[in-house]
Amino acid sequence: MSKEPDFGAVRSSADLLAIARVMEERSAERYREMAVAFEVACNLDTANAFRELAEGEDRHAADFPALAGQPPRVMPWGEEDPEIADPDAVHYLMHPWHAFDLALRHEEKALAFFSVLATQSSHAEVRAEAARLAERERGHVDHVKQRLTELPVPPRDWYVDEDGPNWEAGD
């Protein structure tokens, strides 16, 4: 159900900065939602990992203060916001390492998004701003990679739940 990206929607450097800010804000919101869901699921280590990621995105969003105006009505990524994790890309037994691995994929997608704009936009101003933003995203990618090296790699059977069926549920 995805729509094709529309890179023509970004016409100026102000547009691009506003978009970059929205990306970080929405990503922070999604990680926060996941942190709550994992708390309720009693997987507190992963909940904390998502909270750390949300706080990181909050800091990234704060990099674009008053400079960023209103985002354009049409977002250039169609229905696939590169920085935002799919709500179903998680599992209730996943480990903090998986959370950062998920974040890495989205930081890489965001890097690819700005890199494409940096070469393909028809507006020189947008190309220059996108190149700066791509550089910034490279820093985020490196940071998440570093965090991954610090976290224990999950065992192969991390998703196995030993609990049996719950025939009486809801009675």
Binding site: M1, S2, E33, M34, V36, A37, F38, E39, V40, A41, N43, D86, P87, D88, A89, V90, H91, Y92, M94, D163, G164, P165, N166, W167, A169, G170
Partner: protein
């Protein structure tokens, strides 16, 4: 709530309660909850004019997460409760919700007769083709050869899956549609239209169970918005269903049957109620 502090308009968040869903992280039902609350807000409804009634299952926990009147009833009986509520309180918008197990296994008979009876309510089934709450048994919509769960017989049940839209049409539902949790805005539009449409409106929402049916994450690549306009001709709708692969989203059928009980005069006087039971 008194009339002096009821705001004129409500946002989707006003229809959400403060209770945090206990659904697994990633469950499709989170997005269905958002679509329902968005539909209520888009229709200009108020929480005190709205009710959500359910049966039992993960999906059926939804009344707890809404800030409307609600009834988390018993397994398979949500439609019985919802129809009773609508007949007693025709002024309320009644939305009945649950899962494919609740609605088509234990509640299958209620489903058939609710379609026939055509009470003015909206029935949402969050279809994940599995019993999520009891940890992975096949449901009536499960593929006949699905045996990826330890709770399924080897080789699958061998039973032909139930086609909810075809059965709803054959049994007389007045509005039939399919939505997808991965398209929350499109699904909210469908729900709003279902509520607006008189009579029994049935909306099947494909909502992945990421825990017991991991492969349903791929639905986001297979579900599509149908390019075909809805029809009010039941025979044409039936022909379309012959070639439906289960991945078309949108409104299939808008009928024009008169709702059951529409002309019933409802009185809240105990003496009038008494009179109804006089032999």
């Amino acid at each position: 709530m008194t009339s002096c502090n009821i705001p004129n308009t409500y946002a989707a968040k006003d229809f959400k309660s403060d209770v945090k869903p206990v659904w697994c992280p990633g469950c499709g039902d989170y997005a269905v909850l958002s679509s329902i609350t968005k539909a209520f807000a888009d229709l200009g409804l108020a929480p005190h004019q709205t009710s959500v009634v359910s049966g039992i299952g993960c999906s059926s926990r939804i009344p707890a997460y809404t800030n409307t009147y609600g009834f988390h009833s018993i397994h398979g009986r949500a439609l019985a409760v919802g129809q009773g509520l609508k007949l007693a309180r025709p002024d309320l918008t009644v939305l009945v919700a649950g899962g494919d197990g609740d609605g088509f296994s234990i509640g299958g008979n209620h489903f058939l007769h609710a379609c026939r009876r055509n009470v003015d309510l909206t029935y949402i089934v969050m279809d994940n083709r599995v019993y999520g709450m009891t940890k992975g048994q096949p449901s009536p919509t499960t593929e006949s050869d699905w045996d990826a769960s330890a709770m399924a017989p080897p080789g699958g049940t061998g039973m032909t899956p139930f086609h909810p839209l075809a059965i709803a049409l054959a049994a007389g539902a007045n509005f039939i549609a399919r939505g997808f949790s991965g398209d929350p805005n499109g699904t909210a539009e469908i729900i709003a239209e279902a509520i607006r449409h008189p009579g029994f409106s049935f909306v099947a929402i494909m909502s992945p169970c990421v825990t017991f049916r991991e492969e349903q994450r791929e639905w986001k690549d297979t579900m599509r918005k149908t390019a075909i306009e809805a029809t009010k001709d039941a025979a044409q709708a039936a022909r379309r269903l012959m070639t439906d692969d289960g991945f078309n989203c949108g409104v299939l059928y808008r009928g024009n049957r008169v709702s059951y009980g529409k002309d019933k005069v409802v009185s809240s006087k105990v003496s009038d109620l008494d009179a109804e039971f006089t032999l």
